[in-house]
Symmetry: C2
Subunit: 444 residues, 2 copies
């Protein structure tokens, strides 16, 4: 009899694992179960689907169950895992259409249960017009509401990536947008000086930015009409809660799987949990920060894909490892691009790392080129070694993807000194003679 | 009395050196002489000035002599260096307005004489309508000719960066464009498989591409009417010769300065020539290739700026070093972007380096994003070490600047293995979940 790999979860980590496991072992029995009807969809594209920049829902679906079937991977949708029984090596499942319970046995189990939006316990949080954005269902509900009610004032709670990406997509509906962030600045995983550039830009584009302000509740009739904060009340008729996510780790924890930071499933670099034969990957799992060396929970689509691939390979008998992450992130807020990698100032301080930082303002292309946009580059280096610890970029017109250069540098444990002469690509439509990253490196 | 630094040359290397020397030593007497009337101009912007994308000539000028005067740097324009007399530590100069000869003394001399376009000795090469493009004067002459004669068939001889950049800018004038390259493919410093992607694209846009074909001469009346090659004749009424450049090293060589590869001035990593007190930098000088370790002549604006800065610092008493180059280059040919760094296949073969190469086709952004463009990434790695030797990118919409990641990697002597997990920036408008560079790295 063949070995059987059972995967709980059908999006980034789960389906990457399934495909990789199949490439490693053509005989392995592979089953993936998911409580959703959609699998393998592009969650990160949902803001743009809401804004109409991605016109068709089908464009978000990378692969359907029937595509996986051709790889001999069985995908069962609308099936929820209810209980993991490690001793029996099986999972109790519920068919969400019929309510029928059954058992799926396994030899290896991969938990890719993902994460769910954090929803605070607040007055009237269940009013119509208050949304989160995580699944295709969420995005369809938001679109339907926008078209039916044509909101005038939209409140986005949380100034992280999703909140920022939703600004331009809500503006498509012609409403005013208010952005509320409880931290002292937007993008709490970047430094305040960089975030303030974004704040100024958003304000110049008519967005109301409110920082250091806490949501306390809502009021309304059939629909939300008012949001309350510790500073007052705001008339609103649409609310998006983008306040971060919580790992779906309860199912695994109940089976004795050890949790780590922020209650995510603790995995080693082979994506193994503490229980033999049980792996975890993606937004439900921890990972290691490559600069600090610490266990972190930074759920990202890229990491989910990489962890899924490693888990799939190992669950199929291979021995792959996932080194960890730099916390690299990028987002677009209207025309402004934002990116970061490694550690920011606050993180360095919390870790007790002595650092120097330098920030420069330059252009993304030769100043005389029409495509040239403003760019701000900030780099942090360790004292006295000069090792690059982190970097942040804010700007326009091709600014932010330059962060990959710095992610590469940190991956290679580069010092500032080793890079100040770098031979980067120059031609007027692509860069000034001195690329902004080189300019920043030359400030140390 | 103060030391005096004399600089021959007023563009990238020379004026970078002057500014850096001033920052190092506020007392140093600094004089720069140039036979041109313009200094510190953006030579790389000239194709776009011709095409009208940079409307004003003044936009090409970074700084004027009076700007340098404010830094107490004396810039003498329309003055040509005629003779370097190392024993007397002086340069014989000619005022090009008056014909007057005089002498400029120096304590340190920096030769930044640049390069000139290669012009083959061919029949009727001096006909009206045959141009090179190097200086602002060249670009003005081309613009005047285009407006006066409205050419119908333009021939570009040489499929390197300048030739390719001129394609879109000549098309602005409504003429047919023929691109002639004597090598077997366009962009001889890239591999044929990558160059063929460019060829197909240019052909699809109506450009006539002729490779493995040698220019043999011209015919015409007052103006050029016909170009001859080893394969036949072409009716043309405009010709741009973009066949590479020749270092202006004769003046230095006549004074006993040692030349290196391709008759460029041989310098060490402090930009010193073989003669004490005489430095050279920029397009007249050699440099070192960081992968092969060999002396190379790869004249580029970025390198000129960096070498100038180092030479200026050292000539002012500092001790800076310039490590060398990777031969990084980037260009845009209409909408297609092209870039390369390190060694290509032919270079590896000539150097006897055993290598593996991998090439992938992907997208610059998530496939469902309107900004997503095709991208081809090719990476070469050394056998068996896995050290990355070089990379090439061809594509659209933000494809080519990704080469900087690979330039960073090669600078850090990265292996493929060390980078396959890299935490690169992902969000749908910026990249697929797996950045194309990561996809390529994962093919090894």
């Amino acid at each position: 009899m063949n070995n059987k790999l059972l995967i709980i979860g059908g999006v980034a980590a789960g389906m990457s694992a399934a495909s990789k496991a199949r490439r490693i072992d053509s005989e392995l029995e592979i089953t993936a179960i998911t409580d959703d009807q959609y699998v393998s969809y592009a969650g990160c594209g949902l803001p743009y689907f809401i804004g109409g920049k991605i016109p068709e829902q089908a464009q978000l679906i990378a692969r359907r169950p029937e595509d996986f079937a051709q790889q001999n991977i069985s995908v069962k949708t609308r099936v929820r895992a209810r209980l993991i029984r490690p001793e029996q090596k099986c999972v109790v499942t519920e068919n969400l259409e019929t309510g029928q319970l059954s058992e799926e046995s396994y030899d290896r189990l991969l938990v890719c249960t993902g994460a769910r939006p954090y929803i605070p316990s607040l007055e009237a949080i269940n009013l119509e017009g208050i949304f989160v954005l995580r699944t295709i269902h969420d995005s369809l509900a938001i679109k339907a509401y926008m078209h039916q009610h044509i909101p005038k004032r939209a409140l986005i709670v949380g100034g992280g990536y999703i909140g920022l990406e939703m600004v331009e997509n809500l503006l498509e509906y012609g409403c005013e947008v208010i952005l509320l962030e409880r931290s002292s600045h937007l993008l709490p995983n970047m430094d305040e000086d960089m975030a303030l550039i974004l704040t100024s830009y958003l304000q110049s584009r008519g967005v109301e930015v409110r920082t250091s302000e806490n949501l306390t509740g809502f009021a309304g009739d059939s629909r939300v009409r008012e949001a309350f904060t510790d500073k007052g009340s705001l008339p609103v008729d649409f609310v998006l809660l983008s306040m971060g996510v919580v790992p779906n780790s309860e199912l695994a924890a109940a089976a004795g799987v050890e949790l780590g930071i922020r209650n995510a499933i603790r995995v080693n670099d082979k994506m193994e949990s503490n229980l033999p034969g049980i792996y975890a990957a993606g937004d439900c799992a921890t990972t290691k920060h490559l600069v600090s060396g610490q266990e972190v929970y930074i759920p990202m689509g890229t990491t989910a894909n990489k962890q899924g691939k490693v888990a799939g390979e190992n669950a199929a008998g291979g021995s792959a490892r996932f080194a960890g992450v730099l916390g690299t992130g990028i987002a677009r807020a209207m025309e402004m691009e934002l990116s970061r990698t490694g550690l920011c100032e606050n993180e360095c301080r919390q870790l007790g790392i002595d650092f120097i930082s330098r920030r420069v303002k330059s252009r993304t292309a030769a100043h005389y080129c029409p495509v040239s946009g403003e760019i701000h580059v900030k780099i942090l280096a360790e004292k006295p070694s000069g090792h690059i610890l982190g970097a942040q970029i804010v700007g326009f017109a091709g600014a932010a993807k330059r962060i990959d250069m710095l992610a590469t540098a940190i991956t290679m444990r580069a010092t500032v000194e080793s890079l100040i002469d770098m031979d980067l690509a120059y031609s007027p439509p692509f860069s000034p003679v001195w690329d902004p990253v080189l300019v920043a490196l030359n400030q140390f």
